[in-house]
Amino acid sequence: MHKEADIRKPLILGDKTYRQITDDIIRPIESKAHRTWYILIITAAILALWGVGCILYLLGTGIGTWGLNKTVEWAWDITNFVWWVGIGHAGTLISAVLLLFRQKWRFAINRAAEAMTIFAVMMAGLFPLIHMGRLWCGYWVFPLPNQFGSMWVNFNSPLLWDVFAISTYFSVSLVFWYIGLIPDFATIRDRVTKPLAKRVYRVLSFGWTGNAKAWNRFELVSLVLAGLATPLVFSVHSIVSFDFATSVIPGWHTTIFPPYFVSGAVFSGFAMVQTLMLILRKAYKLEEYLHVKHIEYMNIVIIVTGSIVGVAYITELFVSWYSGVEYESYAFLNRATGPYWWSYWSMMTCNVISPQLFWFKKLRTSLIFSFFMSIIINIGMWFERFVIIVTSIHRDYVPSSWSYFHPTWVDIGVYTGTIGIFFVLYLLFSRYFPVLPIAELKTILKSSGKNYKENYGHGKDYWDSHAGH
């Protein structure tokens, strides 16, 4: 039997058996939904409908309904796109990178984080499509034989790289998520008694048997998919950053963008995982599977990535001055002191200063503070994209075309609408899907379950008196 160091806090608390793990995670699916769930999903659905209405209005009337003007020709649409893609980075990072590093604590969050990834990438994908204005021409982004004189899409363009990156990322994440779900659906299939539920889970579980060879393949497929998804995660946000970095706009064409965007994405993704999981664990009584130690680990990732982002901001400022290019220097001076100073300083406060508070152990192990911080970081990361996109272009080379961006109700409606759609999907997921990986949690029970850990090494509660030194 695999054993774990004594000073490591157990990952599964309480006196659990295999049966209890199944019970605890399937309980929300088997029992009736709480009234709060109905209130939340109705609220989210209203927001989602409002968003769909705004999108339809936008498509019917045209992009002119957004607050864009001749100078600021990209604003909330791309800000929201990058923001959602960023959020979508945590899930695959948790399941892929942490799997390669054999971080067992990921089992408490990976399933829900992967679901978050998929829904967030769906929301992200919506923006490039609707910002074309003519949704029905959306398929033009693919290299399809056509009757326009053999015109192909431009494979030199980062915008096309984005098409490939986002669609690959979405579909690979979906496959990764679903392959993990199959054995858990089989567990539900073999337990539920309602005929409709039984039939649905029977279809969803693909006839999973759980024999030795299947598990052998399962583990290898998870590992190889993790190996493929790890560079994929990094490539996707690098490519998103190329949309800006390969341009000639001062403030955009910086070589630091790819690593800076990737760490920013992980930063915001983990913040969103915190926001969602802190509620989920409470609502579904999963505190024994996802406890303070897990939250602390996530907060540590947030400090690391937040600090990388902070260093990137400062490097950018330094290089803009050091480059000696006056346009470049002005772009950054204007960000901090121009008409958009408020967005720049909100970004700096939310992303650079506030995560540093997590150096205090008291704060990073406080659930309420973590939740509060996760919201702050989500806001800060939205501002980061807004700052990069809008402040770099609102002042052109010609002062007569200087401008300011005012969002219209359609801008706001589409954005809040995607939040609504996201939460509808997430709430449905949390109601009908196993929110923690049942099979994989069982594999760590004996090495990292509290009741098992007490029986080897130094025994009971040793980790509490010795951890953290």
Partner: protein, 178 residues
Amino acid sequence: MEDKVIYAMYDDDDILKEGAKSLVAQGVHITDVYSPMPIHGIDPIIGVQHTRLGIAAFLYGLTGTMLAAIGIRYFMIIDWPMNIGGKPSFSLIENIPAFIPIFFEFTVLCAAHGMAITYLLRNKTLPGMPPRNPDPRTTDDMFVIEISASDNSKHTLKEIAKMVKKTGVIEMEEKVIK
């Protein structure tokens, strides 16, 4: 073909592993093991070969790279070279840096999906397939060893049943499979 099978059920993976070891040592061939999660270390005991899906994934990935190279060469070099800022547009090799991102993405796309589809087919897990685990509890907290008569010519099923009883089994069942 009719076959007789013994299903021996355990409530712990370590007990099952010990049981399987002693059965194999006595010359019993274990057909399969069903469990709610992967049992680490069971494969060498019951003689399950390591899967070759990794090699398959590599080949699918290679196919992806090749397809991307062939496709992009046709679109961008042969069929309609585009002059973009004077960048080389008449040779794949000279223009390759700009194509690397899509080479990579397409490689990953083909490797991941090719492997996933092969995995589902090899496991015989497809939408709507009927569940084939011997007992619904094997996806919850029970572990089952399957021993079929046709795999074991050295012993009769009665002898095997006797051996199984000594391994800490909690339930045993003989079934006829058609």
